[in-house]
Symmetry: C3
Subunit: 422 residues, 3 copies
């Protein structure tokens, strides 16, 4: 089975689980991830204060339905966990259609799809259903039943630190709170899982921190619990919606000149495919928290189709048909490319900064020219030597010299071998 199919299979296993920002669905999901990579699972008690927020009570749901007068389950949680407004309070009541309607949510524009709704911080309940279903409801008395509870428990998240040569970290973060939605964000979870596996097979200078946590409250909880580690994070990515057919979309981190932004722009520019890059804005996924002014990490958001812009977003149509193995694989490759450039994009110091070093005596200079390839390689050496005063990364040098990053990288390794730069 190829990697794309493996990631798809992981998504498939996670799909039926009813996740939320807390509860057993999250734990089951983390357990599946843990079958692949050795994440630590953290449990943070309800009511823990995390910055301006408080960890909510844990929500679990066992069953829910709407029955008509004949006692038929016309809406059944067992058919789709999207049917219940996420975090609904328990209810067991009969009420007329008119009253029921105030608790029903549909998408009139896409009348076959069930919307995804949540109400984490308001004590309320509701059902989501297709617009056609709602239109078919006849007047009468309905029985609504939600067997859920909000109880003191924990918020769960997974974390994995893969150490590199240095303590400088790259953060990779995916939200794990959405129930049966495939692209948003089982795709992101699967791609990060397999990227972590890949990373363990190669050497790297950065350490990598993976966070699998519920959106918003999860990243806030991590940040509030790990303030001492924040300074180590040099770059980062939030990932979501990595399995659909759309082209890559990157939203820059808050500090527009950040290296992560430059690297991704470079990689996408040179990918040969279409893509879009957007400026930072404070609406989106957990980059909102990582890029808040008091945290201000260089964390961008990588997606294929942008959240909120495709009709399937936050509906039952974001299902296992909406994602495909080949797109998961493309996304994994894209992240590998981004990381390989980040890893290679060092800022060197010329160890012989006064005049050019004598390349010839080191066998680095082809005395009698004519070899265009050699000429370009020499030019790459001269550019790196000239610009490596500690202020410019290889990517910066690529921009001024118009020499490819790959050639600069290879040339830098060669110069480093000869102790000309470090």
């Amino acid at each position: 089975m190829d990697i794309g199919a493996e990631m798809y299979a992981q998504a498939e296993r996670m799909y039926p689980i009813c996740r939320s920002i807390t509860g057993n669905g999250v734990r089951e999901t983390l357990a599946i991830i843990r079958e692949h990579i050795q994440i630590d699972i953290h449990e943070v008690p309800s009511h823990t204060k995390v910055f301006d927020w408080t960890v909510p009570r844990e929500w679990n749901i066992r069953d829910a339905y709407i029955k008509n007068e004949k006692g038929e389950r016309i809406i059944d949680f067992k058919d789709s966990n999207l049917h219940v407004v996420n975090y609904s309070v328990p209810i067991n009541k009969k009420l007329p259609l008119e009253e029921l309607k105030a608790h029903l949510y549909t998408i009139p524009e896409n009348p076959d799809w069930i919307p995804y709704r949540t109400s984490y911080y308001d004590d309320t309940w509701g059902f989501c259903l297709s617009h056609h279903q709602m239109q078919s409801l006849e007047d009468g008395i309905y029985e609504v039943f939600i067997d859920s509870d909000h109880s003191d428990g924990n918020l769960s998240y997974g974390e994995l630190l893969i150490k590199g040569e240095t303590e400088e970290e790259i953060l990779l973060s995916a939200h794990i709170c959405h129930p049966s939605l495939a692209n948003d964000n089982l795709s992101g979870i699967a791609v990060l899982t397999y990227f972590a596996k890949y990373l363990q097979s190669i050497s790297h200078r950065y350490s990598y921190r993976f966070i699998f946590a519920p959106g918003t409250i999860g990243s806030i909880t991590w940040l509030a619990s790990n303030e001492d580690k924040i300074d180590r994070i040099k770059h980062g990515l939030v990932v979501s919606c990595l399995g659909d057919a759309g082209n890559p979309t990157y939203k820059c981190s808050r500090q527009s000149e950040a290296e992560i932004n430059q690297v991704i722009e470079y990689v996408l520019e040179n990918s040969g495919g279409e893509y879009s890059i957007e400026k930072f804005s404070p609406y989106g996924y957990d980059e909102r928290q990582y890029c808040s002014p008091g945290i201000n990490l260089n964390v961008g958001l990588l997606e294929r189709s942008k959240y909120g812009t495709f009709p399937e977003y936050h509906t039952s149509a974001d299902n296992l048909d909406f994602i495909q193995p080949k797109y998961l694989q493309e996304s994994l490759e894209l992240i590998k490319n981004i990381i390989s450039v980040l890893e290679a994009n060092k800022t060197y110091i010329n160890m012989q900064p006064k005049c050019e070093p004598q390349l010839g005596k080191r066998g680095l200079y082809s005395a009698i020219g004519g070899d265009l390839d050699k000429a370009t390689k020499q030019l790459a050496m001269l550019w790196i030597l000239n610009q490596s005063d500690g202020s410019k990364s290889l990517l910066d040098i690529g921009r001024v010299s118009s020499i490819s990053f790959e050639l600069l990288h290879q040339t830098a390794l060669l110069l480093e071998e000869h102790d000309l730069i470090k």
Copy 2:
């Protein structure tokens, strides 16, 4: 009577007075302003050293004429105070036409108009007249008479400080030295007078300093006498030519990134009308002094038609027909808009800078979306919270977010109420 008509009426009363950089015409003008707003009137003695300059002796004039051989007053100061070169020394002499002509000034291109000329620092005399008048002069002996005197006295200027919540000041300055010229600058005097009246009816954080002083020597005198106050002035405007039919023209202050420049650019951009914005240059009105390198205040120049570019400039055609109540009113409204943006354009600090604050628990978040208006309001909150690290004003945030200043302003007030920013 509407405000435009009131301002026009004030200009009408000031029009006949023969003003100069010193003398009783200036005092009469200040007295008229003082009927509206409680300016302090300062008298600075002749020969006072003000930086590189010296306050000149006071000039007063009672009568002046040129008589022909028949004893007819062919040029009469009583017809127009422009007829006499401003600051002319007294003269009482008969002389032939040929000799007289060396002291006559006309505008050949506009042969019906009398030019406005001055000679403050050269002891000379002269008459200004229409080109047609000069052409009609026949050979012969003429009697010239100027009943003026230069005597030790004072330079007079008016000043009003309207205190706000803070000691930070906005300077508003108009020159009051021109004789019967309506647009330049009775329009500016009237608009500032009525803006001061308006300001006393509203609350404001800035303190406002109004200076009504003769051009050049007046602003130099004020600056030299008030060096200790200069640091309080954060922004300022010199105003002139605010009554004609032209579109607004703004010349930026010396420091191109100054907030006053950004604010006026924003206001004019959003005014719906045509306008022009020019870079700073060291020629013009009293912004020359306020923007000299050793003073370097952020003071720009606001006009409608730009000085020196309209044919009526510095001629008898800049009369009460050249200005209109509606343009005075538009100018007043423009200044009100500029000031309201300056007042509102605060730089806030997010009090919960680590991750987003929980808007929901403060009732600032609409849990179940769909209200586009609410969505925009929330986005405005997120932008302000995200960017308010002390480096960005609301106007700066407007530029990156493309959210209207008005919405940002309202949102900032709301967030401030909830102690989320200050």
Copy 3:
């Protein structure tokens, strides 16, 4: 004889000499320069360590040829010193054509021209010849003879310091290592020689340091021997290829905002002719060394046709027909213009920075206007006074004001006379 013809005559005398990076050809060339200007001639012993390099042994050559089986000199060093690969080791050997060909260099695209080749740091030998000559060689045994030697000796270079009012220096550098190539770089040597003569006839604030040295190893040797003097060098030019019919080409120094770059851009923009300006790159002539990161001088490269871009480059076609007196003269004039702007491009301080100084009492203000020329002059005064806060040179003021550098320069001298700026 005009100056262009004189420079051409100097080039003509230097042309036949077989130069290299060391040896008697260099000494003869320096002796010819010394007939015009009193350069010091430095001799640096072989094996001297200069940064990462070592001064090579001295190379001298007396004779060289290839004889055919009939004993005819079919390639003769006496016909053209380009025939021998520069720095060839001695050889005296008979060998068949096939074996000989490995040591022969031609230019197939320009089959009548002899290429110029060197092998300074590889112990090898070779001959250069026209492609037609090579094609006419018949199979057989050839006798190759090179009477050269590599012996402990010296590297020679010339240096001249012309002191100005200050110790701040402008560096002017030309490479002197190429044998019979006229444009590259007898043209540069001749133009610098005559510029030095000219400079001795005028007064100047900068001191000027002229370096006539072999390429690469010469400038490295100078820099390594004069590290204590490097800080005095504020601006500099490497010159080459100044005698051909091409338009001026300037390659900027490493620090793109350097004054020398701005000055040359200004001069070329205002020259009325075509020109090109290129960004810095680390390939070229001795600016590579002057602009290495540990030296980082503001030294650009001035040429007419750019090295490597014209077909005659590094071939026997770069001969005395390829350069012309009028182009040498134009180049000299261009350097004079550049230097005159650099000399005049001071950064002044306004001595009366608070408000405008009173120009009138100093006779600097024309009280009654109308003289357009006077108005422009006054505007120039106002601009200089307003901007001279120590952060802006006259060239900077020219850019913001759109006033010509010449008028600003004249005006600055006038204001300096009146102690208004210094």
